[in-house]
């Protein structure tokens, strides 16, 4: 195991200035960003129902949940990494890689071994990211950006750049099917969410993630195995991106070398829109689920508005910015 790095000392925050008027302490209205996320999501959803008749069907709303689930699975891993003070830009490439490698393996070694192998490869890619951050002391942004490029390069030579597809009834079911009238990817996201929430709230690992995100040096000095936790968290992010890649393979029915591209920024956006601090240490997993849903509903609403694409992009950007400003204003 690589020797854990002693993070640089962080100067102690300056003592808070004494309140100018202790008898009338300033009251600050504080709202949990997660609540704000869900309030905006609800408002947007209600608006969409009022605005578009076709959105008022159960089927359409189940479809929206299905789409949000793919993003939610990728964003789940991203959340763990961001909470730890890192970032994973390689998720887009891992999603693509899982589809391309998984499709090829399904056609060669069969469904079950292909799925297991693909998930294993995705987790290893994530672990390599973690090792780069821990052992090589590379900033997460640089390490995962490099991984993204390396994976894209490898996919260009893998099987001569031809993304062979493999038929998989199993993946098709878990991408397009229903279980108890709920879209199957939603069940997958639910399972992922339960595991992540339990990890974050009920285990030493979860406490370590928050501790590293808050102050890696303090975490290290407190005995937290910083390096191990970082490698494990990046591996988890890779694993979940790989899982999403396989489900997208099931959704479209074929491997594509651009399948993961939309997740590069969307996964990070879902995390921060969900109220998690991009600097780490603060945030709740459930916020990311709200963020993924909010972004999906927002895209749906903007798609059917008859405004030019430029206007849609501006509205999307301004809404995200407004949310982040609102979150910042609720912080001390």
């Amino acid at each position: 195991m690589a020797t854990p790095i002693l993070p640089p000392a962080i100067p102690s925050p300056a003592p808070a200035p004494a309140d100018s008027d202790a008898s009338t302490p300033r009251r600050r209205f504080r709202v949990d960003p997660v609540w704000l996320t869900f309030v905006v999501l609800l408002a947007l959803w209600v608006y969409s129902l009022l605005r578009v008749e076709g959105f008022r069907t159960v089927d359409y709303n189940l479809f929206t949940l299905r789409v949000a689930a793919f993003l939610g699975i990728v964003a789940a891993g991203q959340t763990m990494v961001v909470l730890m003070g890192g970032i994973d830009l390689s998720v887009a490439a891992v999603v693509t890689m899982a589809g391309v490698v998984g499709g090829n393996l399904i056609s060669t070694v069969g469904e079950a071994p292909a799925i297991i192998l693909t998930l294993l490869i995705a987790a290893v890619v994530g672990a390599v990211n973690g090792l780069g951050v821990v052992a090589l002391r590379l900033p997460p942004l640089v390490m995962t950006l490099a991984s993204l490029n390396v994976i894209q390069g490898v996919l260009l030579v893998y099987n001569a750049g031809k993304p062979v597809s493999g038929e998989s009834a199993f993946l098709g079911y878990w991408a397009l099917g229903f279980l108890l009238r709920v879209p199957t990817p939603v069940w997958v996201l639910a399972l992922v969410s339960v595991v992540c929430v339990l990890l974050l709230q009920r285990t030493a690992y979860g406490r370590a993630v928050y501790a590293i995100g808050n102050n890696p040096r303090a975490a290290f000095l407190s005995g937290v195995p910083v390096g191990t936790v970082q490698v494990a968290t990046y591996a988890l992010s890779g694993l979940l991106a790989g899982l999403a890649g396989l489900l997208i393979l099931g959704r479209t029915g074929y491997s594509s070398k651009t399948a993961g591209d939309p997740f590069l920024l969307l996964s990070i956006a879902a995390v921060v829109v969900g109220g998690t601090s991009i600097l780490g240490g603060r945030g709740k997993f459930v916020g990311t689920i709200g963020g993924a849903l909010l972004l999906t509903v927002l895209v749906n609403v903007l798609t059917v508005e008859n405004i030019p694409e430029a206007g849609r992009m501006i509205v999307q950007g301004v809404l995200i910015l407004a949310l982040l400003i609102a979150y910042a204003s609720t912080e001390e």
Partner: protein
């Protein structure tokens, strides 16, 4: 000057060319090369060839690279010494400018170019031209004419012909969705310009929804579901790209809506679905941004290095894929994420395309550049 570096070499015999052509078929070019007369290659010295592309990741680019490399192998088999280098700008125009400058500094003979920006590369392309580098640009074009040649299909015509098919299919009346590529991309804008002109000239056509979607099926599935939920009674879906058409067809099926006419592209996933649905009455129309423009560009560039007269613009015809021939285009042996082309022109046909463009240009039948 490039020509100063040329060395003397006799033309290679036709039998050697034929052997190399067969090798090219072995490298995946589905042609009738062995049956046609293979022209001799120009008498040029060792060549340094660089391909500057805005990115290499999408399958269309991989196919294009395969085409270039197969052609270079063929030419090497004929005795030409060619050093080939790919310069991938990874989507960054500034990187592409720097890479073209590197080609100038390292005295490349040929710069093959797929531009990441219509205008940002103009200056460096002009510099390359002035420095004696033969620059041939295809697919995504630069604005400047300070280069050796441009090669392309007519993207406005692409939009016009697919739009006209949609209008004809609907008898001039109907509500349609229009699905474009990313906003601001020149290819996307040109295709839409052509289609929009047709739709606007047809009073009975109502565009009830539009979207700009990257050329990627997964996001297209999402946005089409929203558009079709809002407009379930559309009569047709005009798509300018294959991934969009594939997503449109799947979304109609998943939502249980009638399979209305769709336009598309030679994207294999779409062609295979379309071919399977023809017996059920589904009708579509598509065309292709043919990858062999790369071969035309390379051969034209080598002719230019040899000092032969070359056209400044080669207009490559757009193929037409319809219900009658779609199953000839759909190729089960190729990946779904691939652009199927059943027949690639051989060397003689490529030379003929270039010669015809030159003759048309000299006679004033076509503009010197487009």
């Amino acid at each position: 000057m490039t020509s100063a570096r040329c060395s003397r070499r006799s033309f290679v015999s036709r039998s050697a060319a034929l052997a190399a052509a067969v090798t090219a078929v072995g490298h995946g070019r589905l042609t009738t090369l062995a049956q046609e007369a293979t022209p001799a290659v120009p008498d040029v010295g060792p060549l340094r060839v660089g391909w500057s592309t805005i990115y290499t990741t999408p399958s269309w680019m991989t196919e294009t690279q395969n085409e270039i490399e197969a052609e270079i192998e063929r030419l090497r088999g004929l005795g030409l010494e060619i050093e080939f280098q790919v310069f991938d700008a990874n989507g960054d125009t500034a990187t592409q400018i720097a890479q073209i400058q590197t080609m100038i500094d390292q005295q490349y003979d040929i710069c093959l170019l797929i531009a990441g920006s219509a205008t940002a590369l103009d200056q460096v392309v002009g510099s390359a031209h002035e420095a004696g580098v033969v620059v041939v640009n295809w697919d995504s074009l630069v604005t400047t004419d300070q280069l050796t040649a441009k090669v392309n299909t007519d993207q406005i015509e692409w939009g016009r012909m697919t739009g006209q098919w949609m209008v004809d299919q609907l008898g001039g009346e109907g509500r349609i969705l229009a699905i474009n590529g990313p906003a601001g991309i020149s290819v996307s804008e040109a295709r839409w310009e052509g289609a929009r002109a047709v739709f606007e000239a047809t009073p009975g056509i109502e565009i009830v929804g539009t979207a700009n979607i990257e050329y990627n099926e997964a996001p297209a599935l999402t946005e089409l579901a929203s558009l079709l939920a809002a407009n379930p009674d559309v009569d047709g879906i005009w798509c300018q790209a294959g991934a969009h058409a594939s997503a449109a067809l799947k979304t109609l099926q998943q939502m249980g809506l009638p399979l209305v006419p769709i336009t598309g592209e030679n994207y294999n996933a779409y062609l295979k679905q379309w071919c399977a649905l023809v017996p059920e009455g589904f009708s579509s129309f598509a065309t292709a941004q043919v990858n062999y423009m790369a071969v035309i560009s390379l051969d034209l560039a080598i002719q230019a290095v040899a000092g032969e007269p070359t056209p400044s613009y080669v207009d490559v015809p757009l193929p037409m894929i319809d219900d009658d021939n779609v199953c000839e285009w759909a190729d089960d042996s190729l990946p779904d994420d691939w652009y199927a082309i059943p027949q690639v022109p051989g060397p003689a046909e490529v030379d003929q395309i270039i010669a015809e463009a030159l003759a048309a240009e000299e006679s004033g039948a076509t503009p010197a550049s487009a």
